[in-house]
Amino acid sequence: MKILVQADVFDLGSEVDAMRQGRTDIGAIASFVGLARDMNDGSGVAAMTLEHYPGMTEKALAALVDEANARWALQDVTVIHRIGRLLPGDPIVLVAVASRHRGEAFAACEFIMDYLKTQAPFWKKEETADGERWVEARASDDAAAARWNHKPDLFS
């Protein structure tokens, strides 16, 4: 299990290769990379800055991975989330899950992303032609996380 919060760019290929290295018991690796887009909510985005809550972030990500491990038979999990200023096209977040079977790898990977979106203390601020704006939380992200039947958020 590997959980990192970092300003530096990550490399999907290297991370997945590191999971596989020297192992012959893995059947499936599902992975996800979230990227900064040049458009959001109808306006152009020149750059974004990711703020987080140091200390709690790592705990929240570890709790998500623990929960995924409790739900599915996983062999390895990597979660990397970047912070700081990012440009369109830059990778923001990586989740990779290794398992014997693909169904578990897919489910756990999507579960971790859905929960990360609603439970991990990161906030995005976008730079647009109209100035800076904080990204608002999406109801669709709450709905995505709720699919997994987690306890509801305590405030909303």
């Binding site: 439970q119 601020k125 904080w134």
Partner: protein, 83 residues
């Protein structure tokens, strides 16, 4: 008791403070919110009932009835938007 209170993202900007030490005579997270709302202005507005924010004590999300302890790290922040 003494609390360390942190603010993040939009709330940090609206309140104009990232972190402060607070003398607290109440018991719960809800009591702390009432004390902060009493400052008026952005505090009253952003922390009003029905506004969307989250509260963490010692880096765990909690509800308003969470009991605070001396030296607790309390954080108040908007709904998260990472990923």
């Amino acid at each position: 008791m003494k609390l360390r209170v942190l603010y993040f993202a939009r709330l940090r900007e609206r309140f104009g403070v990232a972190e402060e030490g607070i003398e607290f005579a109440g018991a719960t997270a809800g009591d702390l919110l009432a004390q902060l709302q009493a400052r008026g202005g952005a505090w009253a507005e952003e922390l009003a009932a029905g506004r969307a924010f989250r509260l963490a004590v010692d880096q765990e999300i909690v509800a308003l009835d969470a009991v605070l302890h001396d030296g607790a790290e309390v954080a108040i922040f908007p709904p998260v938007t990472g990923g």
